[in-house]
Amino acid sequence: MHSDKQIGILGVGNLLLADEGFGVHFINYLTGNFVIPDHVSVLDGGTAGIMMAPFIEDADYLYVIDTVASDGEPGTIRRFTDEDIQAGNFQARMSPHQVGLLDILDLCRLRETAPERTEMITVVPEDLSTRIGLSPRLEPKLAQVMELLHQSLATHDIFLEPKTAAAGA
């Protein structure tokens, strides 16, 4: 069984800028399709910066879903861990939320309230124009990121049940 650790899943991004809103769309996908257990908290952080601090401080294991403006084909999914963050592999040309997030993590570390572990699952965007909705290229990435998140959660013995199965049970 899972431990009594608190899991936080945080989607960040700007909903008004097409693929930039991937993290927000992901949170909608997650809560629309899966039953969220008590010790798992989910937040659509938007672009809220410091307002996300309480959520981050409450998490023992934090998963962040975001877009990343790095080299690579649109739709490329990358994972970053604490080691990458500490090593500074995370600085260049990232999205504004992660950087705000890094500031918050720094501050939380100083306050000794940072999560034990942080993992970021990021997607390279295709379309950053001013409109709402994902590009056809990123739409299928919701399920793929979900799969990666499932794998990570499984290491904590957490298995999210699909909503339909729960309803039918």
Partner: protein, 566 residues
Amino acid sequence: MAQRIVVDPVTRIEGHLRIDAEVDNGVVAKAWSSGQMWRGIELILQGRDPRDAWLFTQRICGVCTTVHALASVRCVENALGMEIPINAQYIRNLVQSIHALHDHIVHFYVLSALDWVDVVSALSADIGKTVQLAESISNWPGNSANRFKTVKAKVQAIVDSGQLGPFANGYWGHSAMKLPPEANLMAVSHYLEALDYQRKADMALGIISGKNPHIQNLSVGGVTAAINPDNENTLNMERLYWVRQLVEEVQGFIKQVYVPDVIAIAALYKDWLPYGAGVTNYMAVPDMVLDTKSTSFDLPGGTIMGGDLATVKPFTSFNDPYFRDNVVECIARSWYDGDWTRHPYEEDTVPKYTDFQDEGKYTWLKAPRFQGEPMQVGPLAQVMVGYAQGHELTRKYVDHVLSEISTLAGVQVGPAALHSSLGRHAARAIRAAMLSDLAIKHWQLLVDNIGKGDLEIFNRPTFPKGEIQGFGFHEAPRGALSHWIVIKDGVIKNYQCVVPSTWNAGPRDDKDKPGPYEASLVGNPIADPERPLEVLRTIHSFDPCIACAVHMLDPEGRETVKLKVL
């Protein structure tokens, strides 16, 4: 010989602001403020249902979500000439005041205190003397020898590790840093503590508004937070008492830590009191509404021209033509097609980028004007307008703060000293104290009204055929925010947001009058052009957040100031 400094980006939070300053003999002679990114958020709203606009506008900016939601529903309600149930007004007032408490604490401690506080100097602080200093200005229980010892050890560990984290980009050891080590240690301790109280404010906001950071409980015509004192799924008494308790804890921090810290910093930096005034035309909009028709307020609004408090003229309602008919925006120096000056209802948004031209166009921000004049907005404007009108609560806190600064500084400091960079910080702390009182007052008004059996929260809007227009304003943490809407056959035809940071960070206009940021830098001393701490001090005192001013997010983020001395 004149040198030119470019600070880019200026902010730690969202928005991409560039400041150019010409320095002559150690003093800023001329400055330019430039918004570096553009996205046409208005375009997303065209063709949509006006009742949904607030859901989108609160996504414009990550810092100011709540305020755009409020201004948005108000502009639609204004277009429809609606009244709002009194419970809904009180709930909105609670939302806005608690949001502001959160925002002001974060701005001072996390985003700007380190312009005045030297973290490294805290390492030489004497613990006993730090306790003595702290006790002389406040009876906050957190000011203990143990606490200061722990914080000092923590700072030592960070400095030893070479990983400075949030302190990485500070100007430590700069000659303009004047606080004694003990004051620095006390301030660093409060910096680390501030997040606990921000968190309490966030929790209170979450309980009332459903969800942070994006509130869920607004609606054109009222709020959707059903009130039932006895139902656990609604806004009931248990939740309301929880909110009150959290607000009282935050109020304790504001009155015993934030206000005394600002007083101490202003007194210890009294040499800085003459700097940073800039544009002394002030504008604030009235808020904390007390009636269903939105004609009576607990926070006064109005204008002051040329720093003369005798010129004060109030805005008296949410439909005051004195506001509606006098706001224009000018694009003569902005990267849009044309050089017009227009009323927000009449504006269009056609980008036309040129390079940065000192004498031409140099920013994505438009230049808002009131009766043709640039206006400074924000807590200082609000406090000045209230003070000039003899508003009792404003007078009480202004007089208290000025008298404490005078005592500590050993010189007489009057209201004129508030026209300054430090004055903006003092006014923000004053406003936080006022809003903590008002949050509790409006909590009581709400509870008393529910006690009478009134549970109304919503009036249904109906949209006529044909074209209507409306404006809605809100005195946000960064100042006067207004949304302007044109609705045709129940659908949005045009939408403009005239945001506080556009008023303050906007450029020159067609008559070459500089905006408040630009004017405030002129005359600032610059000890070391390679490390322009003084520029940041003055700009940060406005609480810059231009994500919404240019409707875009900062792609670079962290405050690695790219500094060019040309």
